[in-house]
Every structure is written in C-alpha cells, then in structure tokens.
C-alpha cells in the first residue's frame, strides 16, 4: 500500500502540496487526473523516491522511498513522461535493470515486445518516440514490480498501439499490483482506470470508484439543458447534464465530463464523496 499522510511539498519558489493525504491500495489501476501544474508528476516522483516530502509522510509498504532502501525501490518502477532515452538496445537495457528487480522476467519482456510489435534488438536511438515508449512499457511490465507508475503513457502512441496498451495493462494487472496512470488523455484509458483520483492545488478533490461515482452522480444524455444540474455540457446532438442521483439510477460516466463537473463544484463534490 502507498500511504500519503499530511504531506507537504514544494519546489524552491513554488509550493505544490499542503497537507494532502491519500492512499493507494493494491490490486487497482488508478487514474490520476488534474489540471496542468497541480502536481501529478510530482506525486509520482515522491512515491518513487525521486523527491523528498518537506513534511508529512509518503510510505510504500511502510517505508519512505526517499530513504532509497533497495528492498523498497525494487518494488517500484516509474516511467516518466520526459524519459531519458536509454543507451543501447531495449534488450540490453532490461538486462542491466534485471539485477535491481528480482522479479524481472526477460522471456516475458520478449513476449511483451512481440505483443506491442516492437523490435527490442534495435538501439533505442534508432526507434521512433512511440516505439521507444512501447519498449519502455514492455520493460516496466516485465520488471514485475508491485508498484507501477506511468506518467502520460499513451502520449506518442499511435491508435493501434493505444489499444495494445490497454490490453497489456489489463493483462498484467493483478491483485498484488498497484498501477497508477497519470494522464490528460482520458479517452485513451477511460475504461481501464478505476478508481479515479482528481487532484487540485493543495488537495485531493475526488477519489472514487466508477461504482461510487454513479451511485452519487447521474449522467443524463439528453436533448435539453438542465439548469438545475451540477454541470451541463453541450455535445453533438444535445447535452450531458450531471445531477445528484438520489434514486441511484445507473448511468455511464464520461470521465472528461466528470472532471469538468468536479472542477466546477469542488466543495459539493468533496462533501458528497468525503
């Protein structure tokens, strides 16, 4: 489990988190959403031990990753959005990483590369951005860490690769693994992520499963705008109105519309889901 307790963090001239608390339980594929600059990437850096909390705690299985004990770091892998391109070939790269990650499985890596349709014997420098990304995703999954942090993993992937991405993530998710996907490309992962976390400056606005969201909010796709709705958005052919859901009627969550609803009704949402 990842436990973030009363955590403060800021860069030199820029405070990011003030007293936030948030847990990530194993067996889930979390979607981490938030506007630009709210600290999604920073949160992933804190969890992977690349940054140190100013105050409060960030614990992975009870240990602070910034202490950088190998026993803890071997359980965590982070693919950054602006990754450094590894030297040599993907296959050499995973061989270099293997000693640090005891569950690394090279055969699985080869299989993943086949599934993702990339050639792991070509040098990283010769691969396109999308191919590099797919190799990194294959590497990350084959390291079999309990915690996998992906920052904008679908950026740069072509359309078939996005489908493949969803399939390999669904395949490699299991009850012992915690996957966190931070993204703005909500549509790419809409049916993959659950629960959803929405971060704001200094606070967590929402952490809820799809089921909890539809228990409390009703997404009505109709022809008319509902002026009493928490949020309405025009879509081709009509409106989506998001309302309270006292009768517990099932509806389909559109994550983008959920996001806009949350941003427009911060206090209401915090109370509703708090």
């Amino acid at each position: 489990m990842i436990e973030i307790k009363n955590l403060d963090f800021g860069y030199k001239y820029q405070p990011v988190f003030k007293n936030i608390s948030l847990n990530f339980e194993k067996g889930n594929i979390y979607g981490l959403l938030g506007e630009n600059g709210v600290g999604k990437t920073t949160l992933l850096k804190l969890i992977s031990g690349l940054q140190k909390p100013t105050a409060g705690e960030c614990l992975v299985d009870g240990d602070a990753p910034f202490n950088r004990w190998p026993e803890t770091l071997q359980k965590i892998y982070f693919i950054s959005e602006d990754f450094a391109i590894p030297e040599g070939t993907p296959i050499n790269n995973i061989k270099e990483l293997a000693p640090f990650y005891p569950n690394c499985n090279e055969a699985q890596f080869m299989e993943l590369c086949r599934e993702m349709e990339v050639d792991p014997t070509r040098k990283y420098g010769e691969l396109s951005f999308g191919q590099q990304k797919k190799c990194l995703i294959a590497t990350a999954l084959a390291l079999n860490t309990d915690y996998l942090l992906l920052d904008e993993p679908t950026n740069g992937l072509d359309i078939p690769s996005k489908t493949l991405f969803r399939q390999v993530i669904a395949k490699h998710a299991n009850e012992n693994r915690t996957i966190i996907i931070s993204t703005h490309q909500v549509k790419d992962v809409e049916n993959l992520i659950d629960p959803i976390i929405i971060l704001d400056h200094d606070e967590v606005l929402l952490k809820a499963t799809f089921r909890a969201i539809t228990d409390k909010l009703y997404f009505d796709y109709g022809t008319e705008k509902d002026d009493t709705a928490l949020y309405s958005e025009m879509i081709p052919g009509g409106y989506v109105n998001v309302t309270h859901n006292p009768e517990g009627v099932d509806s389909k969550v559109s994550v983008e519309i959920l996001f806009n609803t949350v941003m427009k009704n911060k206090e209401t949402i915090k109370q509703l889901f708090g």
């Binding site: 991405f165 399939q167 993530i169 669904a170 395949k171 049916n191 499963t209 089921r211 969550v253």
Partner: protein
C-alpha cells in the same frame, strides 16, 4: 467492440453476451471467458467485467462454479429474452413513443408498416 456513448460499460458488456446467448453462439452450460481474459480482449478494467458477471449471475443468466469459472445457465435464453423485452418496453419504447408524438405518427401508421 465499440462502446456506445450513453450506457454504462458493464451493461454494454452484458448486452454483448446476451446477444451471443440469443444467437446461440453461447449455449447452456458453455463456459464464458474468464473475467481476466475478457478484460484483456476489451482492454477494460477487470472490476468492470466482474460487475457485468455479477449482474448476470444475480439475474440467473449465468452461474459461477467456484474456482472454475462462469457458465451459461440452462434457461438463460428465456431469461435474456425477458430481460431484453423489459428493457425495450421500459427504456426504449418510451423514447420511440416520444418521437412518434413529436413527428405526429400514429399507431395505425406503424401497424400498416408492419402488415
């Protein structure tokens, strides 16, 4: 599978399986894909597939053999027919009726179409 914009995904997954039960592609006592395998095929969160299977189990359309998997129930076809009929009458028909009123189409006109 193309998901429709307005219906919860877990119900759309049920609909897909209902379609296969009605067409005979899935027969009584056939085993469904595991939660995991269907999740991989559709690129959908396993929790969502689980919810579809729970929903179908609750309505008796499929049953669970512990540790083995989910299977199509003996009377699944009748149950699915019933369920889809109810859905049509309660959810889809009112929309159609609304549209008929809007366009000024009477029931006789519809009857004539299907004679």
């Amino acid at each position: 599978m193309e998901f429709n914009a307005h219906k919860p995904i877990y119900l759309q997954i049920c609909d897909q399986l209902y379609g296969q039960i009605l067409s005979g592609e899935l027969k009584a006592d056939d085993r469904l894909l595991s939660v995991r395998d269907l999740g991989i095929e559709l690129g959908v969160n396993p929790n969502t597939i689980m919810r579809s299977y729970e929903t179908m189990t609750a309505s008796g359309i499929i049953y669970n053999k512990r540790g083995i998997g989910y299977f199509v129930a003996e009377n699944a076809k009748d149950l699915v027919l019933n369920e889809m009929k109810n859905e049509f009458i309660n959810n889809e028909l009112p929309q159609v009726v609304k549209k008929m009123k809007l366009l000024g189409i009477g029931i006789d006109e519809i009857n004539n179409l299907f004679k």
